[in-house]
């Protein structure tokens, strides 16, 4: 019998595991994908090798890359971008760590109060969340991003908007700024040379501006795992969880089992209440089935897999909200063509942003050419110049919105990847019951029925659609202000990559799965700690920091409720994930 079993080692699970391991609990973490203990021997920085959603090492599939990816049904034009393995989607994230907007929490009294998704607020105040934000910001750690050419260009465009510069972490209104990133900033030779012989730890520290955030971070070369620049959880929280005995007094390292796909959560009736008692998982290599029991089970398998596991376990769903209310920031993509160097293929994934509450946010994105070409051919508005698929709208951008295909795509890419600037539009999209993860009617796989993710993107709420249009116009304004010769809008269908709120925490029992502590309303001792637990989409800011702060809070809540512990956030000594004791211990354990 374990104290706690955590299902999934993505953005949220390792946070819970690290906090509880520090308190000496016996924690087992089960991860469906692999842990890449030595990325230098297993990874490259090539886009197809890394990110091909079917074959790449950062795909959603089993550890053995010769086996097919795991299928998920998406019955509409869309793309669902999941990643298995320790780190989950933080392996390919950009480390952008803005806080959720205060307007998405209960108790907000700003003048724009009524313009947020007021029916689906976080069931506590922003002030209550603040210490948890700070805990994650200090642990990860988070810092102000350095500029490369792409950031300098974007910020130049922002300067023409008349908006102020934000110089604090809390967003109180429309403003632009460098990102607060979960990336160690360039030190030594890093960022100052292309000579790979000099880009070696400790002569180079932090971000080498290699342009490969999306391909997974393993730089600088020869750095200890917990000192790689990007603070994905495989580099930050998981190393802490695995070494808790050396940096926390009374700490107990977690047990991590990878290639372990959880197929069922077990429950019993205890005192008239359905209560979680343990889990069953399947070992990917052998096919063997294992079971362990625990006092508390934490689901951290993500917005798409948590509902699947819930349904496949036959857990109760009396208000029919399991899997519903899925938000994805209803992304859009605005491309500018420049006559000068944009540095789009060099530097961090994104080092600058413009927050535009209550509509959402926009940010520049630096990426290599394959993902750039994918982004330029992905649209709900048909093929530019040929058909609009019922949309294809015009606006302040040039020509129709739509896919670039054929000579047009070749010409766009032929400008050169470093003559393009990409802006991602992240909409504050409403929690809507129609957007959801459920079970597919297709035959299941070795882990049972598979997920089906439905987005009714042409039928989203008026507020969501209006927010997106306001953001696209702001993105076009920034592109032109920066000097773009041409500006194009793609009108993406759902790119389901920022995922939130499919197992949401809420005040009302009518439209939420979790109570305000993060515990399942209908299953005791079962908690959810990842993006799916978020009450809403955070207002548009990139979700990881908010998800991790919420996971920290949930870890504390379950520790005080079921293990007779005291609240610890703000009361214990904070240890940063780059601590030398962690590096040393990882080396001793050959991890």
């Amino acid at each position: 019998m374990r104290d706690v079993i955590v299902i999934g080692a993505g953005a949220g699970g390792p946070v819970v595991a690290k906090e509880l391991a520090a308190k000496g609990l016996d924690v087992l973490v089960l991860e469906a994908g692999p842990r890449r203990a030595d990325p230098r021997s297993e990874w490259t920085s090539y886009e197809n090798d890394a990110n091909n959603p079917l074959t790449g090492f950062l795909r959603f599939g089993p550890a053995d890359r010769s086996k097919p990816a795991w299928f998920r049904e998406t019955p509409q034009n869309s793309f669902l971008w999941q990643v298995s393995g320790v780190g989950g989607t933080t392996q390919h994230y950009f480390g952008n760590s803005p806080r959720a907007y205060p307007g998405v929490f209960e108790g907000y009294e700003g003048r724009d109060k009524s313009r947020y998704d007021v029916d689906h607020l976080f069931p506590f105040s922003y002030e209550e969340m603040l210490p948890y934000f700070q805990r994650v910001e200090d642990t990860t750690p988070i810092s102000t991003a350095a500029m490369g050419p792409n950031e300098a260009l974007f910020l130049k465009g922002c300067e023409t908007t008349g908006l102020p510069v934000q110089t604090q972490r809390t967003t109180t209104g429309p403003a632009y700024r460098p990102q607060e990133n979960a990336i160690l900033q360039p030190g030594g030779h890093a960022g100052r040379t292309r000579d790979e012989n000099l880009l070696v730890y400790p002569e180079a520290t932090g971000c080498t501006m290699c342009g490969h955030c999306f391909q997974g971070c393993m730089r600088p070369a020869r750095a200890p795992r917990n000192k790689f620049a990007k603070r994905s959880t495989d580099n930050s929280y998981m190393p802490m969880a695995l070494t808790a005995d050396v940096w926390a007094e009374g700490g107990k390292p977690v047990d991590l089992i990878t290639d372990a796909f959880v197929m069922q959560i077990h429950t019993e009736e205890v005192g008239g209440e359905t209560t979680a008692t343990g889990v069953t998982w399947r070992d990917g290599a052998s096919g063997d089935i294992h079971r362990e029991d625990a006092k508390v089970v934490v689901m951290s398998a993500g917005c798409t897999e948590n509902p699947r596991l819930w349904f496949n376990s036959g857990l109760p769903n009396p208000n029919d909200w399991v899997g519903r209310g899925y938000t994805d920031h209803y992304f859009d993509w605005v491309v500018g063509v420049f006559d000068e160097d944009t540095g789009a293929s060099r530097g961090v994934g994104s080092g600058a942003r413009l927050d535009f509450p209550p509509h959402g946010a926009i940010m520049q994105v630096g990426i290599p050419p394959a993902i750039a070409s994918f982004a330029a051919t992905f649209s709900d508005s048909g093929i530019r110049g040929h058909y609009g698929n019922g949309r294809g709208g015009t606006g302040p951008w040039d020509g129709d919105a739509g896919r670039f295909v054929g000579p047009e795509l070749k010409e766009l890419m032929g400008n050169g990847i470093d003559r393009l600037m990409f802006i991602l539009v992240m909409t504050d999209d409403d929690v809507e019951a129609q957007n959801r993860a459920t079970l597919s009617a297709l035959p299941g796989d070795e882990h049972g029925a598979v997920s089906k993710v439905e987005f009714h993107h042409r039928n989203r709420s008026g507020r969501t659609r209006n927010n997106r249009e306001a953001l696209v116009r702001k993105a076009v304004e920034v592109q032109r202000g920066a000097g773009a010769r041409k500006v194009f809008r793609l009108d993406w269908p759902p790119l389901i990559l920022h995922v939130q709120s499919s197992m949401r925490m809420g005040r009302s029992a009518e439209n939420s799965v979790l109570d305000p502590t993060g515990e399942a309303r209908w299953v005791k001792r079962l908690f959810i700690a990842d993006n799916s637990a978020m009450s809403n989409c955070a207002g548009g800011p990139n979700p990881t920091l908010t998800s991790q702060a919420l996971s920290t809070r949930t870890a504390e809540k379950l520790y005080t409720k079921y293990f007779d512990g005291d609240p610890f956030v703000g009361h214990d000594d904070l240890v940063v994930s780059t601590d030398d004791r962690i590096s040393k211990r990882l080396q001793e354990l050959d991890l």
């Binding site: 079917l54 074959t55 990816a69 972490r169 890093a190 501006m209 070409s373 890419m413 009617a441």
Partner: protein, 289 residues
Amino acid sequence: MEDPMIARRSFLARIGLLGLASSGLASGILSAGPATAAPLDLGVLRQLLQTLSLDTYKGLAAFVVPGDDAYSHAQGTADGTPGAIAAKAPQFLMDSLDDFVGLPDTTVRYATQALATGLAGSNVDVPGLSLLPGQVLALDNALTKLLATDETIPLSLPVAGLLNLVATQVNPASVNGLFVSPFARLSFADKAKAFEMIETTESGLVAKLDVNLPEPLAETVSGVLKFVAGAVIEFTAWGTYSEYAAFDPKSKTLDGRPVGWKLAHYDHRAEGYDSFRGYYQGRKKVSHA
């Protein structure tokens, strides 16, 4: 009511079997006689179908990123530089669809069966039907046999079949001509029309796939095929502009500069760049409030 035999022949021509039967590839293998001729070996059929699929994806690759190849010439958009075909995008698509989409075998079978039966009755006047060679019927018999076995159907087949079928809807004359695949024979503008037909929500064509399927699979199969048919455009672009064509998976190294990198003027460096431009307004730290 249309003669079912003619409808069937029309359908076979439209998914590309006519091209296969008429090509030199098949002439040595297939009996030109009637359907009662010696049955076709399934292994041979697989090879032929693979040829048909590959030809279709060549037509698609030229559509997404044209180059100086025959398919780009045929669609009327050739230029003097390499495109997706030179970047091996057709093989990339086939490999990805067939070996790495974890779609259950039964689902691919349903989709292929739906394609081979559900759409056979859609009315398009196809020229030259009376001249259909007997090889087409031999292929049809073998295809029917293949679908009745438990053998895995490669996903690339129904997706290519859908593209070809829609191609003949856009331009019935595409059942005959250069190449094996009707889709590959279309002009650039007609290929765009074919995608419009697949993608447009109101289009009834893809929905017809569901007619003969049991609930609850009905909408699922057309949904999956519709998703895949759209995604092949993005995937073709991805394959073209990635390192795929030059990458050796065993050594994890490149045997030259990938075509797509040249096209996009991409200067790949793994370890880092001298891109540091300081901190905005000199601020290295903000208030934690």
